[in-house]
């Protein structure tokens, strides 16, 4: 009975380990997980390609070491990032929630069966993630890391070191997140719900920031330097880098102390993370389950600000308010928007790390990276907001919009556009204004802010062209996310070109005026285009992405065949 229950629950928990509502409410679960695995294997393939082109025999020792260390660090930090993102995405399914308890508690299932099934499902998901991500890199790079003139035993050792390090790094991240989440769950319910949302976002930002901002291990000298040692001691990716060197037996004598200290930190960190996660699971076993059942159904009224300004006529205001409240309160939607902002942030960081060309004119005080940061973050915010608008919150509650006397897409265009502007363009514009006024002369900033506002308007109109939906209300088909990604990448190209043009235009008033005039004209054209599309006769408000087919297939192609 218990074994059968375990198997049933294990399967159920495994398929629910990633929040499906977040990724594809209408999607096929097997297809979705298959796509997820395929992306990881493709990433593994891309990362392993470089292993073939490392000239281990031709490069000088110092250069080869720098190349290999950089690669080792990248592979470890990529594994940690992917596991971290997995932990963030599976946030709500990491522990038994109220629905699990209410459905499963009345059944004759022991609590320990539930927990072992949950832990087994998480362990399987973690193993599959690490396996898919390192399937090809684990083999290709292990051979390279073993050394140029290594034997079979060295390759085996390198292979074992590689997989042990990756598994340890993945377990460290997942257990760290689970431990933190589980301990936060011990807070009073209302406080926990608020803290939990903040923790999820904080973990997400932390993983992305560390991945993109951490220094690369360039040389023995740099690793051994006192100031860099202090920094590395606080970076878990370097702890596991140290652990790999120790397990692989590739510690240079000059920095043996540093590497051993990092490896020790990895061991301690791993032990603490596992211990914390174990404690969190035990606490939820003994305490949280009962607490969930004993929670009153009605929570006391929430405090805070309930007022929002008007954004035009009544319908526009209702839809903008609805959009703001949905994005503010839906964790799934916030995480997706944060992902887009994170991508933008990462690209900005990459540009900031690149050396800036020397300039003598007015634009000398203005860096391309500075201009690019605001424009690119704006583009990513618009693409992210546009993406989350397509993902529904509660499809069954949409009837309220359907029974309302609402105007068609043309009448709602303003409401949808304002929702997008308020949630993406305005915040990025305001933050850019404050940040740029801090570092640049106000005249340059004023000019750039005008251009930024116009660019935001163009992006909003272009991205909403043909968008005939009230935000968060239309059913979602998997695949829409790829269009969002394409938008980001195509916008990136336009953005980099436009920013270069703007920087050159800064040196002449006439040039800048011409640029603003072009942007004004483009904004007007984009507006006209989106209004024209909303006005087209076939335009109608959509609540279903896939319409019911007019013709049903009868699937009669097998008629007349005898079954075997």
């Amino acid at each position: 009975m218990t074994k059968l229950q375990f198997r049933v629950l294990y399967r159920e928990f495994l398929f629910r380990v990633v929040d499906l509502e977040l990724l594809a409410p209408q999607g096929d679960i097997a297809k979705l997980l298959g796509q997820f695995g395929a992306v990881l294997i493709f990433l593994s393939f891309a990362l392993s390609m470089r292993a073939m082109f490392v000239g281990a025999n031709s490069l000088p020792l110092q250069t080869l070491r720098a190349v290999l260390w950089e690669r080792e660090n990248t592979l470890i930090s990529t594994t940690m990032l992917v596991v971290g993102l997995f932990a963030v995405l599976s946030w709500d399914s990491a522990f038994l929630n109220r629905r699990d308890v209410m459905v499963l508690a009345p059944l004759p299932v022991r609590a320990r069966t539930l927990f072992f099934a949950k832990i087994a499902a998480l362990a399987t998901a973690l193993s599959l993630t690490i396996l898919a991500l390192n399937a090809l890199t684990g083999l290709a790079w292990s051979i390279v890391f073993a050394g140029a003139n290594s034997g079979f035993a060295d390759v085996l050792r390198s292979l074992a070191a590689y997989w042990s390090t990756m598994i340890a790094a993945g377990v460290f991240i997942l257990c760290g997140v689970l431990g933190l989440h589980g301990l936060a769950a011990q807070l009073p319910r209302r406080r926990y719900l608020r803290v939990s949302a903040l923790l999820q976002m904080a973990a997400f930002c932390l993983f992305l920031s560390v991945y993109f901002l951490q220094p690369a291990p360039v040389s023995v000298k740099a690793l051994g330097a006192l100031e860099s040692r202090h920094l590395l001691e606080w970076l878990p990716t370097y702890w596991f880098f140290g652990l790999f060197q120790v397990l692989n037996g590739s510690v240079p004598a000059e920095i043996q102390t540093t590497i051993l200290s990092l490896a020790r930190r990895a061991e301690f960190g791993l032990a603490i993370a596992v211990l914390t996660a174990g404690t969190a699971f035990l606490l939820s076993y003994f305490r949280t389950l009962r607490k969930i059942v004993e929670e009153p159904d009605i929570m006391p009224g929430a405090g805070g600000i309930h007022w929002l300004p008007r954004f035009g006529n009544s319908v526009t205001t209702a839809i903008v308010h609805f959009s703001i409240r949905t994005l503010m309160r839906s964790r799934q939607h916030r995480v997706i928007l944060a992902f887009y902002l994170g991508v933008g942030f990462a690209i900005v960081i990459l540009f900031m790390q690149a050396p800036a060309p020397r300039q003598q004119a007015l634009s000398a005080s203005v860096s391309v990276a500075g201009l690019l940061a605001s424009v690119l973050m704006l583009a990513c915010a618009v693409a992210g907001a546009r993406m989350v608008f397509t993902m529904p919150l509660q499809l069954k509650a949409n009837w309220i919009f359907r029974v309302m006397p609402l105007p068609g897409p043309r009448g709602l265009l303003n409401a949808i556009r304002r929702s997008l502007l308020v949630l993406s363009v305005v915040p990025v514009w305001a933050v850019s204004a404050v940040a740029l006024l801090w570092i640049w002369p106000w005249r340059i900033v004023a000019g750039h802010l005008v251009a930024l506002a116009l660019f935001g308007s163009i992006l909003a109109d272009v991205s909403l062209s043909g968008f005939q939906k009230i935000p968060f209300t239309c059913s979602y088909l998997p695949g829409a996310g790829y269009r969002g990604f394409l938008t980001v990448w195509s916008t990136l190209f336009v953005t980099v070109t436009a920013v270069g043009f703007e920087r050159r235009a800064l040196d002449s008033g006439a040039g800048y005026a011409l640029m603003i005039a072009i942007l004004c004209a483009a904004a007007a054209c984009a507006r006209w285009w989106s209004v024209a599309r909303a006005n087209s006769p076939e335009s109608a408000l959509l609540f279903e992405e896939a319409e019911t087919p007019a013709i049903f297939a009868l699937d009669l192609h097998r008629d007349g065949r005898l079954s075997a």
Partner: protein
């Protein structure tokens, strides 16, 4: 007056509602009854404009509702069968959103929302998210949202679902009161006793077709049965209820 004329709805060729014709008059409460799967909620959804009919016509005050659906929706209030609400909003926010979508004047709407929340005993929880509401509280929010704009036509699909005794009694009186003030009320329910008490007219649906459409008094006389339960059992219940219950008990007990 609401008139339903020869309305049918086919799902993949299978009729869920088949040539249904009846009317609901102002000042009357029309009870719409039928067993599970008989097509009650499908009819309600077609009357609200949520679902398109395969054939037939629905008229409100002599005009087809599809001719000016916006104007019709302005005058209609609807309580659906399931209390599906945006649970991330608070009760107050949800009602305010409905008032804005209906373009009601801000100040009177705010006063009306406050009054409805108070009368439905929801005022203390107006800032709590709907996710924290009980089923009865969600039902009250739906009722308040349907009444907010003083509709001329009220479509109530299982409006008593989840309500406590006190709230159900209030709603029962409210339906009668609104009908007496000239509203057209069509409501569907499985609580035959309630339907019998408040309806002036009964429409019984069975397998998508109307099997009775008359006042309760006339149905009693025509069928020579004293209660609505007896009439309903004869017209719409095919099973021998006692035999089925015996069979279930036998099955459980082995």
């Amino acid at each position: 007056m609401l008139e339903i004329r020869g309305v049918s709805k086919l799902f993949s060729g299978i009729p869920a509602v088949d040539d249904v014709t009846f009317s609901a008059r102002a000042g009357e409460v029309t009870g719409y009854l039928g067993p599970n799967g008989s097509g009650k909620s499908t009819t309600m959804k077609m009357i609200t404009g949520l679902m398109e009919m395969t054939s037939g016509e629905i008229l409100f005050e002599g005009r087809p509702i599809q001719r000016d659906l916006m104007a019709y929706k302005q005058r209609m209030g609807y309580v659906p069968e399931e209390p599906h609400l945006y649970s991330h909003l608070t009760g107050l926010e949800y009602l305010s959103m409905v008032a804005l979508l209906r373009d009601l004047p801000v100040k009177p709407a705010a006063e009306k929302i406050d009054g409805l929340l108070r009368l439905f005993s929801l005022r203390g929880d107006r800032h709590a998210p709907i996710s924290a509401y009980s089923k009865g509280m969600r039902q009250k929010v739906l009722l308040a949202a349907a009444l907010l704009h003083n509709p001329d036509l009220l479509l109530l699909d299982e409006p008593f679902s989840g309500l406590d005794v006190g709230s159900a009694l209030v709603l029962r009186s409210l339906i009668r009161e609104l009908a007496s003030r000239g509203k057209v009320i069509l409501f569907s329910s499985h609580e035959l006793e309630t339907v019998e008490r408040i309806s002036s007219r009964i429409v019984i649906l069975h397998r998508g077709r109307i099997v009775a459409d008359d006042s309760i008094e006339r149905l009693r006389v025509l069928m020579e049965l004293p209660t609505l339960e007896g009439i309903f059992s004869q017209l719409a219940v095919e099973q021998n209820t006692e035999a089925v219950s015996r069979e279930i008990a036998d099955l459980i007990l082995g």
